[in-house]
């Protein structure tokens, strides 16, 4: 223990109590295991800090001073998982950007179609002295409200699906904890607002461009 605590990069070293060891073994041997009768090795939990410790050096020193001790470095097999989880996060962010782009493109196309279909309405409005701002607002308002409504329905459905996901509990693996926790529930509320903002910008740009071609 002293040796571990002196090793640079080790934040804390703690011997696990008997109860903790029993809890770890329980899923495999059942609750009635007489731990004291078995040659179970004493587990020591090491939490690293900063850049971590030098695994090879520590192993050599352990061999010299405590021949029976085995250093099992969890980070070795955990690292690819952490990397994968990070990549998954990036993938999520990229797909959100792609979806936002697709929404903008879709809204622009729909707005163009609506503006073309309402060419007569626009001509009448121009004739009676409507400014571009007035005409554009009429279209922008409609599309923004529609996007807001659609995204609200979508966000509700998505949130419902996440509610049905298994929750992250005691036996959590990293795949089960997909649902939101606590204040993270704010995110689905942001979706309709962001969609409406994207629709607003896309329609405003499309309307300005179409109106600029008319006199």
């Amino acid at each position: 223990m002293r040796l571990l605590q002196q090793t640079p990069g080790v934040a804390s070293a703690r011997a696990l109590s008997e109860q903790e060891q029993q809890a770890l073994l329980e899923p495999w041997f059942g609750p009635d295991l007489p731990l004291a009768d078995l040659p179970v090795p004493q587990l020591i939990e090491i939490i690293e800090e900063g850049d971590g410790f030098d695994g090879a050096g520590l192993r050599l020193r352990l061999q010299a001073e405590v021949p029976g001790a085995v250093l099992d470095d969890h980070t070795r097999w955990r690292r690819p998982l952490v990397a994968a989880a990070g990549k998954l996060r990036l993938l999520g962010a990229v797909s959100i950007l792609l979806i936002a782009g697709a929404v903008a493109a879709m809204v622009t196309l729909a707005a163009n179609a609506a503006l073309a279909a309402n060419a007569q309405v626009i001509a009448v409005l121009r004739l009676v002295g409507a400014t571009d701002g007035f005409i554009a607002r009429a279209f922008v308002r409609r599309f923004t409200l529609r996007a807001l409504g659609g995204a609200t329905l979508g966000a509700l459905a998505g949130a419902g699906a996440l509610l049905l996901m298994p929750s992250a509990g005691e036996t959590a693996g990293f795949l089960t904890g997909l649902s939101f926790v606590g204040w993270h529930w704010v995110f689905p509320l942001l979706v309709p607002l962001l969609t409406a903002a994207v629709a607003f910008a896309a329609t405003a740009i499309a309307a300005r461009r179409v109106l600029g071609d008319l006199r």
Binding site: V121, V124, T131, L211
Partner: protein
């Protein structure tokens, strides 16, 4: 009010109008005549800024059209009432709402104007049709609704393109009387028409000048009518 100074216009290809000078003085009554395709509608469009002359200068209320931005044009249209031959409306709004549309887009409204609207609808004889939709109107009713819409902002100038184009004689006389009445209230009127009978009957009611487009030029054609 509206001045065209040595104006030319071409839709690409040859010039349709050239070297054309026109001055609409406040309170004047003009007829614009000429064969089909001579450019009557084009001339009217130049007068309300829907077209920009390819040469020369068009001035609306003292401002050069070429230097006006889109919103300035829109604002000037609130001072110019336009009646087209094939008047178009917003088909999903009632006649009364269509007539009041210039007020809506100008962001005006209120009890006083409500009363004005009722009076105006009575004046053009459409009070009983106020809640109808535009597609339910007859040709004459559409023309009168368009006239009511053109004058609801109390514009200084009224431009009418073949306002009697698809109505019978009786109705055209009625529309003419409405336009003459507006002129007596001090409005400037310009009517494009090829209906010489209409011009003759107008001359008995009001002092009207007749302009004729021929050979791409504008000529005064007063005496022979």
């Amino acid at each position: 009010m509206i001045e065209l100074d040595n104006v030319a216009y071409s839709y690409g290809g040859g010039e349709l109008l050239s070297g054309l000078t026109l001055r609409l003085a406040p309170g004047s009554f003009h007829f614009l005549t000429g064969p089909s395709g001579a450019g009557k509608t084009t001339l009217l469009k130049l007068c309300y800024g829907a077209l920009v002359p390819t040469a020369g200068h068009a001035r609306l209320f003292g401002e050069d059209v070429r230097r006006m931005d889109r919103d300035a044009i829109a604002l000037s249209r609130r001072r110019i009432g336009v009646v087209h031959q094939d008047c178009q409306f917003l088909d999903h709004l009632s006649v009364a709402e269509n007539v009041a549309l210039p007020l809506t887009v100008a962001g005006e409204g209120g009890g006083d104007l409500e009363q004005n609207l009722i009076e105006l609808m009575t004046w053009v004889g459409l009070k009983s049709r106020a809640d109808a939709l535009p597609p339910e109107l007859s040709g004459g009713e559409r023309q009168r609704a368009a006239l009511a819409r053109a004058v609801i902002m109390s514009p200084e100038v009224i431009l009418a393109d073949e306002p009697t184009g698809n109505v019978d004689w009786e109705m055209s006389q009625r529309l003419l009387r409405l336009l003459v009445e507006l002129n007596r209230m001090g409005k400037t009127i310009l009517i494009a028409t090829h209906d010489l009978g209409l011009i003759r009957s107008a001359k008995t009611q009001v002092q009207a000048r007749v302009l004729r487009i021929s050979n791409r030029k504008l000529q005064a054609a007063g005496v022979d009518l």
